[in-house]
């Protein structure tokens, strides 16, 4: 019984690893293919299209707070991701512990 369970979880680990590998490939491949890409944001490009279509358009409002530099901006983005993953993995850990406890009490 233990063997069957082990081989099943082994398989799912492999499967998940393959999925992670695909995601990483999808992110890295463009960097290799598009050699002269700037890798700016797509909204910067949308801005260009807007000025293309309507050269007179003036943004009528600017952000009330802007990160002082790219570093500070990336700090805030990292913070966002870190807080999010903290909650996700706290939840997963909680659920895992709960499941273990149930199995023991059975």
């Amino acid at each position: 019984m233990e063997d069957i369970k082990d081989s099943k979880s082994y398989k799912s680990i492999i499967k998940n690893l393959i999925l992670v590998a695909i995601v990483i490939t999808l992110a890295v491949l463009p960097l290799i293919i598009v050699k002269d890409g700037e890798f700016g944001g797509a909204d910067g490009e949308a801005e260009e299209v807007i000025t293309d279509i309507n050269a007179d358009y003036e943004p009528w409002f600017s952000p009330i707070f802007e990160p002082k530099s790219g570093e500070i901006e990336s700090l805030l983005f990292v913070l966002q991701a870190a807080i999010g993953s903290a909650v996700v993995f706290y939840g997963l850990g909680y659920m895992r512990g709960r499941k273990k406890k149930e199995e023991v009490s059975k």
Partner: protein, 233 residues
């Protein structure tokens, strides 16, 4: 003089000030009913199944993480997933409108990403249209008794894509091209957003399968509460 130039901060939502006032207001008004329904649907879920609160927080957090990840794409620019599909599958499309709004507010206020004036339009595309499409796809594939992984993958991926198609529509409506009108503009904006978004949509689909697998391994009770998996599984 330099101070007057709008600073570009990178991200994929409609930038602050870049949507004419009347469109900002209209999209805001369109979004409000969905937010109201979403608010009550979250209240109902929590009161009926209190123990799914944790999962709701996790769904929000997942959207938080994914929308912070700006990933390079084949067009040579960067964009990010929305992370909305996961919560939509668990809690339904309207509940995600609230969660999407929270994520967008955070990014608009602290990161100058998206914007407060464009929050209505951005919420409509990311937290109304995205979840509705994701939910419809998920239900259709389940009904056709397709495999669950496929339903999750396509729901998340197409939910993501539809968000950016909607963004293109919103921009094209506000900025119809002089030569070709709405359609010409739409194609232009789509070429900026949609193609960049395709590889990311695939990534989002895969990441959603991964988180779903993890929840399925440890949180069967919650999934049963939400009728995502049947009792006997």
């Amino acid at each position: 003089m330099l101070l007057l130039l709008p600073q570009t901060t990178y991200g994929m939502h409609i930038m602050e000030g870049f949507l004419p006032v009347r469109w900002c207001i209209s999209w805001g008004v369109f979004t409000i009913p969905f937010l109201l329904v979403g608010f009550f649907s979250i209240q109902k879920i929590i009161s009926e199944h209190p123990r799914t609160k944790m999962l709701l927080a996790m769904a929000g957090a997942f959207a938080f993480v994914l929308s912070a990840l700006k990933i390079p794409s084949v067009t040579g620019s960067c964009s990010h997933p929305t992370g909305i599909g996961f919560g939509t599958i668990l809690f339904g499309p309207t509940a995600m409108s609230i969660i999407g709004l929270i994520v967008l507010l955070f990014q608009a206020i602290l990161l100058a990403h998206g914007g407060l004036t464009t929050i209505g339009a951005n919420t409509f595309s990311m937290a109304v249209v995205g979840p509705l499409v994701a939910f419809a796809i998920y239900k259709i594939i389940k009904k056709a008794s397709g495999p669950q992984w496929l339903a999750i993958f396509l729901a998340a991926a197409l939910g993501n894509l539809s968000t950016y198609i909607m963004t293109s529509v919103q921009l094209a409506l506000a900025f119809p091209s002089e030569a070709g009108g709405f359609t010409a503009s739409l194609l232009k904006f789509m070429s900026v957003f949609a193609i960049t978004q395709i590889p990311l949509a695939i990534s989002e689909g895969i990441l959603t399968i991964l988180i779903f697998n993890a929840i399925k391994a440890y949180g069967k009770q919650e999934l049963k509460d939400l009728k995502i998996i049947s009792k006997e599984v």
